[in-house]
Amino acid sequence: MDNGACSYRRFLDGDESAFEEIMEELFYGLVFFIDRYVHDVHTAEDIAIDTFSDLVVHRHRYNFKVTLKTYLFMIGRSRALDYIKHRRVIDFVELTEAQNLSDDEKALEKIVLADERKCLVNTALSKLPDDMRAVIHLIYFEDMTYDEAAKITKKNRKQVDNLLYRAKKELRTLLGEEGERL
């Protein structure tokens, strides 16, 4: 599994349908990951679209040294953090709109998390700090290696290890009996 690198090479050679394959494979996962930071599905979609457009505009920046998924998640994370930094106003939305938002999040969850176990963990994740949440998401939900997760979160492998250990400890406490089963 090369996580889209092969398709990207075809896209660089001029095959635009290859880009659609990349989108289908990676888009929702990226939105879900970005949503961990921004807590807003529509904003996460927006940022994910910008991330993918980076692939189109700066075609030759990706040097195939990491997987395409890792590269996209790195850019997505940077854009999400930039968005958080520059966000000044807390958006107040009407209740009905908020309801729609929550529906969209559930829809996204449904698309990405087919596993009931993952759904349970996902609910508990919102109570964890940002770093732990990001690492759990990458390793557990996106099936990335420790090295890839370290590259995306700009930490070293040892730090990722420690974060994962502490996150699992927290999750066991949060999930209670369910956590024991997990």
Binding site: E20, M23, I49, D50, S53, N100
Partner: protein, 206 residues
């Protein structure tokens, strides 16, 4: 409501197109500013460069030869200038002679000063030619070099003092082949021809 994947893909390409167009626009704007700016800077530097060079006493651009070894600029700031000196006193201290000579003829004074000025302009690069036989005053052999740079005790020494109408002085010391402008602290090394010319105009030939 979550959109269809095709909608997301179309949105990606739409935004990419917009960003590429924006980049091209910015690049063109920068080029349209930079190119005229560079041309203007180049033109200004070409026009202003001649005015930055120093101007010589005759009004022409002063072209200091690159091969001159020391500060051998013509003493155009010598006190009084070429036309305003009224007398020249030459004091000689050669072996067996201790005389003073005065020149008051205006034409002669002018020609002496002109010769001195020209010597500073045309100071030679190399050492004076080896022709000790022409001047009986020059000691032969190893002491010749000391004579040339004026450090030998046997060198004749002459002091040439120009006096202007307002009493200001310009003093030069000739020792061996070395001519020193005392006022401006500029020394030059003369060639045989130049030394001979100076001595002739000052009336110092034996």
């Amino acid at each position: 409501m979550m959109k269809e994947m095709q909608e997301y893909t179309a949105e990606v390409f739409r935004r990419s197109e917009k960003r590429i167009k924006e980049r091209r626009r910015v690049r063109n704007r920068v080029l349209s500013l930079c190119i005229p700016l560079c041309l203007t800077v180049a033109l200004c530097s070409v026009m202003l460069l001649p005015t930055l060079q120093p101007i010589g006493p005759d009004g022409a651009l002063d072209q200091v030869p690159a091969d001159q070894p020391s500060q051998e600029t013509a003493p155009e700031n010598a006190v009084g200038g070429t036309g305003s000196f009224v007398s020249v006193i030459i004091k000689g201290f050669s072996v067996g002679s201790d005389g003073t000579q005065a020149i008051t003829d205006p034409d002669q004074v002018t020609s002496v000063h002109r010769v001195v000025l020209n010597l500073y302009k045309e100071a030679p690069t190399g050492t004076p030619e080896d022709s000790p036989d022409e001047d009986p005053m020059i000691p032969p052999g190893d002491a010749f070099e000391d004579y040339q740079n004026g450090s030998s005790a046997d060198c004749p020494e002459y002091t040439i003092i120009f006096t202007s109408s307002d009493g200001a002085n310009a003093t030069y010391i000739l020792k061996g082949y070395k001519l020193c402008d005392v006022n401006n602290a500029v020394d030059i090394q003369l060639s045989d021809m130049q030394l001979k010319e100076l001595k002739t105009v000052c009336g110092l030939t034996e």
